[in-house]
Amino acid sequence: MISFKNIWNHFPFVIYVFVWFGIFVAGIFAPEEAVQVLKSNIITKGYHISLYSCIIMFPFMVFYVLRTFRFGVHK
């Protein structure tokens, strides 16, 4: 069961997920004209940032969840 104590225990990870979510949303809502200022070939649309944030940050989140909850590191 999710309690305040549980959330407080895993607070750094919760905030990390929160930061990722903020990046994800901000990427989706980024105005296309503003994205052009990056002059990047890799990021040409706002949602690309959301996508890359998943690719770069998701593996770590999965690793944390598996290691902490499945393999019992510092429950």
Binding site: I15, I23, F29, P31, I42, I43, S53, M57, F60
Partner: protein, 243 residues
């Protein structure tokens, strides 16, 4: 509601909140003295180096409400909050091993830096899109008028580098193409600097905290001395290569 204006304002407020919550979390877990030590040292390191960056003419932070000299107050506050978060995550995943302490500290500090870099890699393109900070000369930062508000904020402040000896020293470095090597549209040196800063801070903080016999005052003094030595060294080393 989800306009660039909204994101600009919410960024500043969220960074303040992030710092407060992280400080409270650290306080509840480690007590005041360790929390004070970590957050003060991180704040001074980040504020010192960022101010050097702005004074050198590398970038500007316009349109915020509260400043520490040339940088927004939320900048060092959120930096140390983020470093605290990644260090806590690493501590939980890789608990301290008494044996081979030096090797352990180097490895976990590398993981800290990698985690912080993963956030920065995505945060910096967003920062440029929403004009939280501006890497290019201000006259080139304009986006098509009438389509996107050029700067996405109302408060016109800190738009240009103030005249100062540091910017005069770096004038030749930035005279031609400023930071030509870019990743996701952001100067590559920015990501390198992030990695190095977090690594250096993490390794020295962990090393000092491992000195159980040292008093709080001694730990604080050593940490601050190290930070004060590092600021000019890291600042100059990472600003100068205009790669």
């Amino acid at each position: 509601m989800l306009s660039p204006d909204f994101f600009k304002s919410s960024f500043e407020v969220t960074c303040f909140l992030l710092f407060i919550v992280c400080f409270l979390h650290s306080y509840s877990k480690y007590g005041f003295q360790k929390t004070f030590r970590e957050f003060l040292a991180g704040f001074i390191l980040s504020a010192g180096c960022e101010n050097l960056g702005v004074l050198s003419g590398a970038y500007v932070y316009p349109g915020f409400h509260f400043y520490v000299f040339e940088i927004p107050l939320v900048n060092p506050l959120s930096w140390i909050a983020l470093v605290y978060l990644v260090m806590e995550i690493t501590n939980r995943l890789f608990p301290l091993k008494e044996r081979r302490f030096l090797f352990y500290v180097i490895i976990v500090s590398l993981i800290d830096s990698t985690l912080a870099l993963s956030v920065d890699l995505m945060m910096d393109p967003l920062a440029t899109i929403y004009n939280w900070w501006i890497w290019v000369p201000v006259d080139q930062a304009y986006i098509t008028e009438d389509v996107v508000n050029p700067y996405n904020f109302d408060l016109i402040t800190h738009m240009t580098t103030p005249e100062n000896p540091i910017s005069m020293y770096f004038e030749n470095v930035f005279s031609e193409n400023r930071y030509p090597t870019r990743l996701f549209g952001i100067p590559l040196i920015n990501f390198i600097a992030w990695f190095v800063f977090v690594f250096v801070f993490s390794i020295q903080f962990r090393w000092i905290e491992s000195k159980i016999s040292w008093s709080h005052f001694k730990k604080l003094t050593y940490l601050l001395l190290l930070i004060l030595i590092e600021i000019p060294i890291l600042g100059i080393t990472l600003i100068t290569p205009n790669i």
